[in-house]
């Protein structure tokens, strides 16, 4: 199952609706980077509202995606991380230190616009 990546002005919008398995996550990483390359997107919002469980591998992939996107010139904001997921991430020692976060999609979009200086 591929994760749909939507384009909105110069942002890319991804909403992850189900638990990611390792393969889907890696596929998603590839797809997103290709999409950034194709569309010259400057911002990426990944919405995790419907994700209840996350494991260390998925967390690492997400962190990697963020850094890779940055290398390609796109700012990334993670939105809607659930409390349980946040606790898991912290307990796993994954801090996603230089990743921007927002409470929900709306605030995430606002944040990325601010980051992009609009």
């Amino acid at each position: 199952m591929k994760i749909p990546i939507l384009k909105l002005h110069d942002c890319l919008l991804i909403s992850i609706q189900w638990e990611l398995d390792d393969e889907t996550a890696l596929q998603f990483q590839e797809d997103l980077l290709n999409k950034i390359y194709q569309t010259n997107a400057r911002g990426v919002v990944i919405d995790l509202t419907s994700v209840d469980i996350i494991d260390s591998f998925i967390a690492k992939v997400l962190g990697d995606v963020v850094h890779m996107s940055k290398l390609m010139g796109a700012q990334v904001v993670l939105t809607g991380i659930q409390p349980a997921v946040a606790i898991t991430l912290i307990e796993l020692g994954i801090k996603l230190n230089d990743v921007h976060t927002a409470l929900d999609l709306e605030k995430g979009l606002k944040k990325i616009k601010m980051e992009l200086g609009e």
């Binding site: 809607g80 991380i81 409390p83 409470l103 929900d104």
Partner: protein, 277 residues
């Protein structure tokens, strides 16, 4: 056979009692003997012996009632559990020795008597143990409820700004609850800035600091900012002396300063209203 034992106890009551008391005082923790007055000790010992004798004389129901009363009484006095079980065992030993000295217990009926004694002391031990554990369990549950009452709630003060006042010592279990309340509260109230007020926390050690940092980081992951307010001078001293790095947190000395900063972060400020005179 039960009657033999009962008769022996009845006739030698005083002797057994005095022997038992002296042995128990020897055995018992000095601290403990000092705490329990002689009168209480004598009273309980007397009750103990009566109870044992009654076991042989009375019907089962009466006995179990008395046993229950006795166990509750012992718990109420606050005798340590090991002291009580030791007491029962010692009592057992004294009677057994006494009886073999008098020749009541012989090699032939040894097994029979041992069995008799077991039947006797088994339920007593069980009852006392269960009374103790139920008392402890009750205490623990009560304390857990008290802890829950104490543990922090997130209070929204302005739109997008919430405060979590912490009072009392924080342990791992409580820290977990704080973190959960904090995160769920942030999502529920859609807070942008959360202030954790530690004015009421008496001491900060590395463990608590670790939990606070963890909480702050998870708040950031959820998409809000976390601020630590209410840092008293001695707390600041401790934090630096312990070498705890709180750089990842925004810190302020008072809740007031924290709220001002939080308003600033959300592009707001408090202004005075001009009053027309």
């Amino acid at each position: 056979m039960d009657k033999k034992i009962a008769n022996y106890i009845k006739t030698h009551k005083e002797l057994i009692l005095s022997r038992w008391k002296s042995e128990m005082k020897e055995q018992g923790d000095e601290r403990f003997v000092r705490v329990v007055s002689n009168r209480v000790f004598d009273g309980a010992s007397q009750q103990f012996i009566d109870l044992i004798v009654s076991n042989l004389m009375e019907s089962n129901e009466e006995f179990s009632q008395r046993l229950h009363k006795f166990a509750e009484n012992v718990v109420h006095i606050g005798w340590p559990l090991n002291f009580v079980t030791q007491g029962i065992r010692k009592f057992n030993e004294i009677i057994f020795h006494g009886m073999s000295e008098e020749g009541v217990v012989t090699r032939e009926n040894y097994m029979e008597f041992t069995e008799g004694f077991d039947k006797w002391f088994g339920p007593m031990n069980d009852e006392i143990l269960s009374t103790y554990t139920s008392t402890w369990e009750r205490t623990v549950t009560l304390q857990k409820i008290a802890l829950k009452e104490l543990s922090a709630q997130l209070i929204p003060v302005f739109e997008g700004i919430s405060v979590m006042p912490l009072i009392g010592t924080i342990d791992t279990e409580r820290a977990k609850q704080i973190m959960e309340n904090l995160l769920h509260g942030v999502v529920k109230h859609r807070s942008e800035v959360v202030l954790i007020d530690i004015t009421g926390v008496p001491i900060i050690d590395t463990m608590i600091a670790h939990h606070l940092i963890q909480a702050a980081e998870s708040v950031r992951l959820v998409g809000a900012k976390c601020m630590l307010v209410g840092i008293r001078p001695e707390i600041a001293q401790t934090i630096v002396t312990l070498g705890i790095n709180l750089d990842s947190l925004i810190t302020k000395n008072t809740l007031q300063a924290g709220i001002e900063a939080a308003l600033e972060m959300t592009n707001r400020k408090i202004v005075g209203v001009e009053v027309e005179s």
